[in-house]
């Protein structure tokens, strides 16, 4: 598979005073409140925080699934807040890949068909689709199980399939929302190793939401802490960076 990496040190995403507010009855909920930071190409960023801290909402905003109430999110030189819904769909299709906690594979489709889905949406030719699906499944070591359906796989295998699906369109940024949340610790670790391998192998930018600090500290290069919708802290993962420097 030919990667389309976010070139190192280029800006992959830039958030400028991003807020996402909801109204629930009479009360206003500030799910994300005035958050600003920049993510460079090739970074492995972990968004940490307790439940309701706004990390998943922020991930959805960065992935183009939602629009900010105010502020700007710059990706590929464009402000996502100003894109039309069609342009946002193209951004999700071509620039980003998504991995979910509950895998979100379509149960009636085989592994190969699930992985092929983004290529269908991108109107890639059938011949090329077959090649790219095979490559993606080979990368996650599921090339022997292409005809299986999700229900016939373990949780770890399903998540690996979801990662293959996220990679198949060769995105620059991979968003992972609690990718190990539904897995046991050993399987979770293998998934994290796979993500790490992809990040280093393809030079891809990975932004992962997790509430498991040990996992974040073990794999991410940068830790961003959220609390009550606000950015609490943002810094390099000392454990990783010191490990790298040693």
């Amino acid at each position: 598979m030919t990667p389309t990496p976010g070139s190192a040190n280029s800006i992959a995403l830039q958030l400028d005073r991003v807020s996402r507010h909801y109204t629930l009855g009479a009360s206003a909920i500030r799910a994300v409140d005035d958050v600003s930071f920049t993510i460079r190409g090739g970074e492995f960023v972990a968004l940490l925080g307790s439940s309701g801290s706004g990390k998943s909402t922020l991930l959805n905003l960065m992935a183009g699934l939602d629009r900010p109430t105010s502020g700007a999110i710059h990706a590929d030189g464009r402000n996502l807040a100003e894109l039309s819904s069609l342009e946002l769909a193209r951004y999700r299709r071509n620039t980003v890949g998504m991995v979910f906690q509950s895998f979100n594979l379509l149960p009636r489709m085989t592994l190969a068909e699930n992985v092929e889905l983004p290529l269908r949406l991108a109107e890639v030719d059938r011949d090329e689709r077959a090649t790219r699906v095979a490559e993606a499944l080979q990368r996650v070591k599921l090339d022997k199980r292409t005809a299986h359906r999700p229900a016939e796989l373990s949780g770890g295998e399903q998540q690996r399939t979801a990662i293959a699906r996220a990679l198949v369109n060769r995105p620059r940024i991979l968003f992972a929302d609690e990718p190990t949340g539904n897995l046991d610790s050993a399987t979770g670790e293998s998934i994290m190793n796979l993500l790490l391998e992809i990040q280093s192998g393809l030079g891809m930018t990975i932004i992962m939401v997790t509430h498991e600090r040990p996992i974040a500290e073990k794999f991410a290069t940068r830790l961003v802490m959220m609390g009550d919708g606000k950015l609490l802290s943002d810094g390099a993962n000392q454990e990783i960076t010191s490990g790298v420097s040693q």
Binding site: N60, A63, L65, D66, S85, L86, A89, R90, R92, R93, N94, M98, F100, N104, L106, R108, M109, L117, P118, R120, L121, A122, E123, R165, N169
Partner: protein, 437 residues
């Protein structure tokens, strides 16, 4: 997403809830079936009526009479002619030279008494030109058509044949004699004539189920058909003979009670009719009646179609219900599709295609079902007619346009039914859809 991929996904989705989608599709099929069955009856009855009338040779013909006939009444045209023209051989030749006229032949009909198996059977004889074979009226007849214009042969209309024998097929090859009144010119110069009873032997060569000599002139529908040459040679007394006598001196010249002018197509009938009237004769055709008949059947089709469409309207509610249920069930899937890059229009088109596929399958099944209903009705009608000793008929017909219309209408209605669910699915917020359990 490309249409092929979209269709594959849609069919896969439909197969997921097979039972529910089959019931919905069945609803569409029943709606289309009722529409097709109703319209096929309309078309079938129209064909039945127009075929019978066409085969009678009435619609491509203009009937010419002398302007002043025995019935009196006002002239058939407002244009005043200087003098009354005789409908004689000169007139016949003149009319036959008009453009788009195939032939002009006199209508010769006279009452007769048929002698068969030593029993008398009163009926009407009609002289038929050899060209009448091409009208289609003799298609499917038992036996053969006239061998020549002067052959002493007779073809029996089936209703009359049944009077002669229950086994109508067995009549072919047998002989009968007809007794008729021959007009014989008196030797003096009075212009009068005698009526002499005569008899003629004929061989039965065929039995025809249609009525090739129905319509106008003479003494009503001809039920014993003979070649026109033979009919002319018999010089049988005609309805215009009395008029010829009172006309005086001109009575020595043979005239015709009426002439039938056959046009190349029904489109030429109006022009020929006008030209004949201009020549000073009375002329009329049944084309106007045929137009009224067409309007009647169009209105009938419309009403039948409207009633049948009600069933299809109910079926569309089923499609709306099924697709709305599908949205609820596949909310998360829609969220996944959007997260993977599906645009709102992709989601909308996916549901549209699903509705369209249900319409297509329902339409095809409905057309087949409607055709079967039509066949069953035809079968039941023919069983009834057979018991009444009447010939069978085709009361339903599913032409290609009805097949295409049935399927097309089903797809169109299904797409309309898919409008609301498709736009509802397209508007789903992907974040909320992904959160849905």
């Amino acid at each position: 997403m490309k249409l092929r991929d979209m269709t594959e996904l849609a069919v896969r989705n439909l197969r997921e809830a097979l039972f529910r989608n089959s019931l919905t599709t069945l609803g569409v099929a029943v709606g289309v079936a009722s529409l097709v069955a109703m319209l096929s009856l309309g078309v079938g009855l129209q064909n039945l009526a127009s075929n019978r009338l066409t085969k009678s040779g009435l619609f491509d013909s203009v009937f010419v009479t002398p302007k002043l006939n025995m019935r009196g009444g006002p002239p058939s045209t407002a244009v005043q002619q200087p003098e009354t023209r005789l409908l004689d051989e000169d007139a016949r030749r003149e009319i036959s030279k008009l453009p788009n006229v195939i032939e002009v032949f006199p209508q010769i009909r006279f009452p007769t008494e048929v002698r068969f198996a030593e029993k008398p059977y009163p009926t009407v004889v009609a002289g038929m030109p050899l060209s009448s074979k091409q009208s289609g009226a003799f298609d499917g007849m038992k036996g053969t058509f006239f061998s020549g214009e002067n052959a002493n042969e007779a073809i029996l209309q089936i209703e009359f044949a049944k009077e002669l024998s229950k086994e109508t097929d067995s009549l072919v090859g047998k002989s009968l004699s007809i007794r008729y009144a021959e007009r014989q010119q008196l030797a003096d110069s009075s212009g009068g004539f005698s009526i002499i009873p005569k008899e003629k032997q004929l061989q039965i060569i065929g039995v025809v189920e249609t009525e090739p000599a129905s319509g106008f002139g003479g003494f009503g529908n001809g039920r014993l058909l003979i070649p026109i040459g033979v009919a002319q040679s018999l010089r049988a007394a005609q309805v215009n003979d009395l008029r010829d006598v009172v006309r005086g001196g001109a009575a020595t010249k043979q005239t015709y009670a009426s002439l039938t002018v056959r046009a190349k197509t029904t489109a030429n009938v109006d022009d020929i009719e006008a030209a004949v009237k201009k020549m000073g004769f009375g002329a009329f055709s049944l084309l106007d009646a045929s137009k009224s008949l067409k309007i009647f059947f169009r209105v009938l089709d419309l009403l039948l179609g409207l009633f049948a469409s009600l069933a299809l309207a109910v079926a569309t509610l089923g499609i709306v219900n099924t697709l709305v249920m599908a949205i609820l069930e596949r909310r998360r899937e829609i969220g996944v599709l959007k997260a993977l890059g599906a645009a709102d229009s992709d989601v909308k088109r996916l549901f549209f295609v699903e509705a369209g596929v249900m319409g297509l399958i329902g339409g095809i099944a409905g057309v087949i079902l409607g055709w079967l209903i039509g066949r069953a009705l035809t079968l039941a009608t023919n069983i009834y007619l057979k018991r009444q000793e009447l010939p069978g008929v085709e009361i339903s017909s599913v032409p290609l346009w009805l097949v295409l219309f049935g399927i097309g209408f089903a797809i169109a209605v299904s797409l309309v039914a898919g409008l609301y669910p498709a736009s509802r699915a397209a508007k789903l917020n992907p974040v909320e859809a992904l959160r849905y359990e």
